[in-house]
Amino acid sequence: MIVRSNREIAENIFEMTLQGEIVQEITAPGQFLHIKPSAQPVPLLRRPISICNNNKQNNELTIIYRTEGEGTTLLSERKENDSVDVLGPLGNGFSIDETKQEETALIVGGGVGVPPLYSLALALFERGVKVTTVLGFADAASVFYENRFKEAGEVYVSTIDGSAGSKGLVTDVIDNESLQFDRLYACGPTPMLKALEENYPNAQGSLSLEERMGCGIGACFACVCHTQNDPGGSEYRKVCSDGPVFPWREVVL
């Protein structure tokens, strides 16, 4: 794909727009790309990055990533018109068909778990669903897309240090604001997902998981997780090809 823009939108957080035919193959919010950060053998592996949004008219999609290590740092150095080796779209995204018009969807994102939720929020909004979003970040400097999510409905932001929005975790926001919902969608750090699953043991909706990957297409078994209600411990799901989005309580967090 060709880089159309690549800019820092928050501290160490980059938004990259890519153009290419594969945009036509995107079927649901929450799918991801497997990106080769360098044509050289170092770093070797592809990096999984969620698709944040896409525009099929002009074959463009957006990703948002944090510069964590070698691969994402190399990605942040790409300039307009550079090409990027991309495999995708991969994985199964969020299914929104079961969410009805009159229902309320609560979308909860933490850090770089926020990006795939943006196109989800827009898709739910277009469907006529009432969308409420809660976004959690470390501090004010790392907040992004707060205003973009307002296109889809009400937005609450929390930061661990209280430097933006309310102080605390996303779960504190939901409690303090007594947010009600019919469907819960979430992506973020595992402790956040665990807390949500504990607090809302009957939640309907889905969550998106992260795991270290090899192939990204289901062949290498690097990314498996256990399923719940599996006393034998032999059942599994592959995050790359069965997920990364799963219904609540399907997999062990």
Partner: protein, 305 residues
Amino acid sequence: MTRLQTNLPGLTMKNPIMPASGCFGFGEEFANLYDLNQLGAIALKATTNHPRFGNETPRVAETPAGMLNAIGLQNPGLDKVISEKLSWLETYDTPLLANIAGTTMEDYEEVAADLSETNQVGALELNISCPNVKEGGIAFGTDPDLAAELTRRVKAVSTCPVYVKLSPNVTDITVLAQAVERAGADGLSMINTLSGMKIDIHSGKPLLANESGGLSGPAIKPIAIRMIHEVRKQTELPIIGMGGISTLNDIIEFIIAGADAVAVGTANFTNPFICPELIDELEDYAKAKGLENIQELRQKGVNSF
């Protein structure tokens, strides 16, 4: 097109390139991307007598020009491999090299007997070198007497040729190669991954849940080349060479070192189309050099053509 034709015991291949065991599952994922009949052969993921979940995650870690994996031989077990995976593969005419693993000699015998009886696998590949399972496995790969006994016993119950996949985690790989040759191996496959570890300096703990894992990718290529070169001096057994192959020149280097065919592992993860791409490149290369058969390259170097 016979320039790439490669005939090894049990494996009549239209070209000498196959995906390596464990890096290609049972082919289903890649069948969505290209026609598996293009491949010289397919080395299947290791099969054990009972289903295995494998290790906890993280199961992979990146290292300079390589990766560590500790999948732990996850597979659906012998019965399901036969009823689901092999029956799915029936529609392809590409020869299959079935990789088998176990913790006891009896495990290997059971899997070998049942798989060879299906008549669907061209040959077996004894994985005596997986560094990622605590029991058995690696011991068979490092002790020449055990390796020989296992080879003999598996040969006795198998109706198809048996290749032994050698471990690089030994002082002198030629000792193992000769031991399994004397025990009746029909071919060698080398090399499996090298045992390694990566420590997360932030947590101070090994990054992989299994702590150690097997190193693969370009980083191990010089070791594979050296070992194949050494073994080739000692034996005429067919060698399926692997370890870090990702380019045409890598394949040429493996053939010159002594490989009769090659397997591509980790490179399937960075480029899922790598096998058909390399097959095309090798075909073009053989044509451009006027080779009647690719094995003419052996021990000559590319400049003699």
